[in-house]
């Protein structure tokens, strides 16, 4: 578990804080989405959390260890995949992983075994003796992933790792994160691809201009979806009475033959269905498309100003 408490980072005296008293946590067995505009403070937060940057104030506690005071112990429990993998390019992949393994106290044999397994799991088998310089961006990301998991850490921080990935890559990452969740790992996923975050995150942390705006659970997102979305209906005996009723639900009702689309719908679709049936209408189809995370994100960003 990662506990972030009142974390603040200021880069210059005359500059606003890159991160301002941020507090949230990533619990074991959950995937937390971390969303925000460019420059919102996502990467700063992650860099502070993994200990490569020093906080101006506040704390990051990883499984009980402060990342500043107990750096080595805290880092043992964290894996980090940065947005832009930046490694020693002249190193051979296997020897670099071996180098990293040394920090975790893995024996040579253990390290070899683990490295072989990791390289296979990220699909780099056959390329392990090549220099990192020869890798494509995608391969570097896979390497970075392997490097982050060399000690099978309890907590993983993924910073925009979905950027630039092809559909297969995204699928791979999604499966991996879900698998980590199943293994009770704590995962923080920072991403601009909000649909992916929405699909897999148990909670979403919204950050804007260095401040945490909101932390929303999946359930709360669902409620938001229930109270704001598009309701599509196909009513066999649609008439003026039915339309009038439906117009009471939203200002945006579009009728096309027997089909009706109600935008900005904030009600309960089941209740609408029950009411129409009670009024004697034959509802052949009813579907609700909830507002996605993107809409919600823009909504709260707009509110934040």
């Amino acid at each position: 578990m990662i506990q972030i408490q009142s974390l603040t980072k200021t880069y210059g005296r005359n500059q606003p804080p890159a991160l301002d008293s941020a507090s949230f946590e990533v619990r074991d067995g959950e995937i937390v989405g971390f969303v925000g505009l460019n420059g919102a403070g996502k990467t700063t937060t992650i860099r502070l959390a993994v200990g490569v940057s020093l906080p101006t104030s506040g704390t990051v506690v990883v499984d009980g260890y402060d990342i500043v005071k107990d750096k080595a112990k805290a880092s043992e429990k964290i894996g980090w995949v940065p947005e832009f993998p930046n490694y020693e390019l002249n190193a051979k992949v296997k020897s670099l992983l071996n180098y990293f393994a040394g920090f975790y106290g893995l024996s040579g044999e253990e390290a070899d075994k683990r490295i072989k397994q990791l390289i296979a799991s990220v699909g780099l088998t056959g390329y392990e003796n090549r220099k990192l310089r020869t890798y494509s961006q995608g391969m570097k990301k896979r390497f970075s992933l392997a490097a982050s998991m060399i000690s099978d850490p309890q907590n993983l921080l993924f910073d925009e790792i979905l950027n630039g990935l092809d559909p297969e890559g995204i699928h791979f990452m999604r499966s991996l994160m879900l698998d980590l969740k199943r293994r009770n790992k704590a995962v923080l996923l920072s991403s601009h691809i909000l649909t992916e975050v929405e699909n897999i995150a148990d909670r979403v942390v919204f950050v804007h201009r260095g401040k945490i705006l909101q932390v929303v659970t999946r359930g709360e997102l669902a409620v938001f979806g229930a109270s704001g979305g598009s309701l599509k209906l196909v009513i066999q005996n649609l008439n003026e009475d039915a339309v009038n009723y439906l117009r009471t639900l939203s200002d945006e009702v579009i009728v096309d033959g027997n089909s009706v689309v109600i935008s900005n719908f904030y009600g309960d679709s089941a209740q609408v269905n029950a009411e129409l049936v009670r009024r004697g209408f034959n509802v052949r189809e009813l579907s609700f498309e909830k507002s996605n995370l993107e809409e919600y994100f823009f909504k709260i960003v707009k509110e934040a100003g």
Binding site: S75, Y99, F103
Partner: protein, 533 residues
């Protein structure tokens, strides 16, 4: 942490730029050392001597050539010419693998010849003159008897002379070259020696050592009896080498030499009031064959050591003085600076390691790797001095020089590590590194001169010499020069010849400066590494 430390160590040592920077001084020393030694002829031409006797077949010569250790030198050509009113006669020969050549000149016996010997080897040429007559100590000149051995000097006195001890750089041994009647191999000949105090003998004459210092020479007796002497060993071959143990504290070090400095007199000049060593060779029946006296300094401080140290001092202070900072800068940049400014270091810092642990590990691995590189360079240079000059540097000189290099290394690594925390781009860091190198290695003298002029110090004055020496304490690239100044114990600039201590160069000041140069850049770097992103 052992594996990461080892990885960093190997990575630094394998870095192409470090390898190149390490090889350059070796390659340069390969060019310079043999050249320097060639000019100063440290290894020198083979020592060459000959013995002569005659029989009914003519005059026979046994020649011997050796290297500085007294080991036989093969391939040395000897040409003997005997000239008399009746005619000219010649004979030639080349030394074998043992250094011996046996040459006969078929000249009629019973005449007195003027002899001329010419010795040529691949590296040198020598010649000498001799007579087939023999001058006796009482001044009479007689024809030797048939088969009697007559030594012929070809630049080196025989039958005794000193050669370099193979195992002790500061010691010389006694080489004896002689033959039995008719050129037979000597059997059970005895070599005796006696150490005596010259002042115990009568003053016989005086001489001036090249105009400066008057030295009183005292004449020892013509020879001692065997009973008065100590047996050094027996001679059972044409040539044998004997280690000589001498009384200590008698190396003429307190004698003023011709150039006004203090040190040993030229070889052959006995130390007034000091001890002398008298050697005598006896046949198996006790007949005195040859005598010769040596001063003790002829068994110490062989010239080759002085030459090697001079070359090494000059080479270390100049060439290595340039390359050590270069090696340190390149190594520090490639092992830490580059990773730091490019952000690669973060991929390591995110591992279970503290900032202090990581930075100290990188510093140590870089220092150790480059220290090994420098050790290899110094070792290679020392090996070359041995190969071309026949002499390793003394352990003290080698240790002190290597220590100075390590101080320079630590200082420059610390500085580059430090600057990598003050700048954010590789280009700027490289620029600073080049700037440091140029300022410390090339512009320092100009800076000191300008500052001295600004504070109205007269360049060329003793005060300026002091100031420029003190300025060396503030330049890690010149630390080796301070150490060498101390080791060689002389400073000769602008006509001054002053002791290093006068300039502030003492063991204490050198040690303190060294420790500060190691500690300060490292401490400043460590502070930034731990306290700042």
């Amino acid at each position: 942490m052992t594996r990461p430390l080892l990885y960093d160590f190997k990575r630094t040592l394998r870095s192409k730029s470090v390898i190149v920077a390490m090889l350059l001084p070796i390659l340069i020393s390969l060019a310079i050392v043999p050249l320097s030694l060639g000019v100063t002829t440290v290894s020198g031409p083979p020592s060459s001597q000959a013995l002569m006797y005659y029989d009914s077949n003519g005059y026979h010569f046994l020649a011997f050539s050796s290297d500085q250790y007294g080991l036989g030198a093969a391939g040395v050509n000897y040409q003997f010419n005997l000239t008399s009113a009746q005619g000219n006669y010649a004979g030639t020969g080349t030394t074998n693998s043992s250094g011996f050549a046996f040459i006969t000149v078929k000249a009629p016996i019973g005449q007195t010849y003027n002899g001329f010997v010419k010795v040529t080897s691949s590296s040198s040429g020598l010649s000498g003159q001799f007579s087939t007559e023999v001058s006796l100590p009482n001044g009479t000149v007689v024809q030797p008897s048939e088969g009697q051995i007559v030594p012929i000097s070809v630049g080196t006195p025989i039958p005794f002379w000193t050669v370099q001890d193979q195992n002790n750089a500061t010691k010389r041994d006694l080489l004896v070259f002689y033959a039995g009647p008719f050129g037979a191999r000597p059997q059970s000949y005895s070599i005796y020696y006696k150490v005596y105090n010259e002042s115990s003998f009568q003053t016989s004459n005086s001489a001036t050592d090249q105009g400066n210092t008057s030295i009183i020479f005292r004449q020892p007796p013509a020879y001692f009896n065997e009973s008065e002497m100590i047996l050094l060993g027996t001679l059972n071959d044409y040539k044998q080498i004997y280690p000589v143990t001498l009384p200590s504290n008698d190396t003429c070090s307190n004698v003023v030499t011709s150039n006004g400095g203090s040190g040993a007199l030229e070889a052959g000049f006995p130390c007034p009031g000091d001890l002398l060593i008298y050697f005598e060779l006896f046949s198996q029946n006790g007949t005195l064959l040859q005598t010769q006296q040596f001063s003790p300094d002829q068994f110490f401080t062989p010239p080759v050591v002085v030459q090697s140290v001079n070359i090494a001092s000059s080479f270390f202070a100049t060439i290595m003085g340039i390359f050590i900072p270069l090696i340190a800068i390149i190594g520090a940049y490639s092992s830490y600076g580059k990773d730091r400014v490019s952000g690669v270091l973060e991929s390591v810092l995110s591992r279970p390691v503290t900032r202090m642990g990581l930075t100290t590990s990188r510093f140590l691995s870089t220092f150790l790797a480059l220290g090994v590189a420098i050790g290899i360079s110094v070792g290679a240079i020392d090996g070359m001095l041995k190969y071309f000059g026949g002499q390793f540097l003394s352990a003290a000189f080698l240790l002190a020089s290597t220590g100075a290099f390590l101080v320079e290394l630590a200082a420059f690594i610390g500085l580059i590590f430090l600057f990598s925390h003050l700048v954010r781009s590789s280009g700027l860091l490289i620029g600073i590194a080049i700037g440091l190198f140029i300022i410390f290695d090339f512009l320092w003298g100009v800076i000191v001169l300008l500052v001295s002029v600004a504070v109205r110090l007269n360049p060329g004055s003793l005060a300026y010499l002091k100031a420029s020496t003190i300025a060396q304490f503030f330049n890690p690239a010149q630390y080796i020069q301070l150490v060498i100044l101390y080791l060689t114990n002389t400073s000769q600039s602008f006509g001054f010849q002053v002791a290093p201590s006068v300039l502030g160069v003492t063991v204490a000041s050198i040690v303190v400066a060294g420790l500060l140069w190691i500690a300060l850049p490292f401490a400043a770097f460590l502070y930034l590494a731990i306290k700042r992103d």
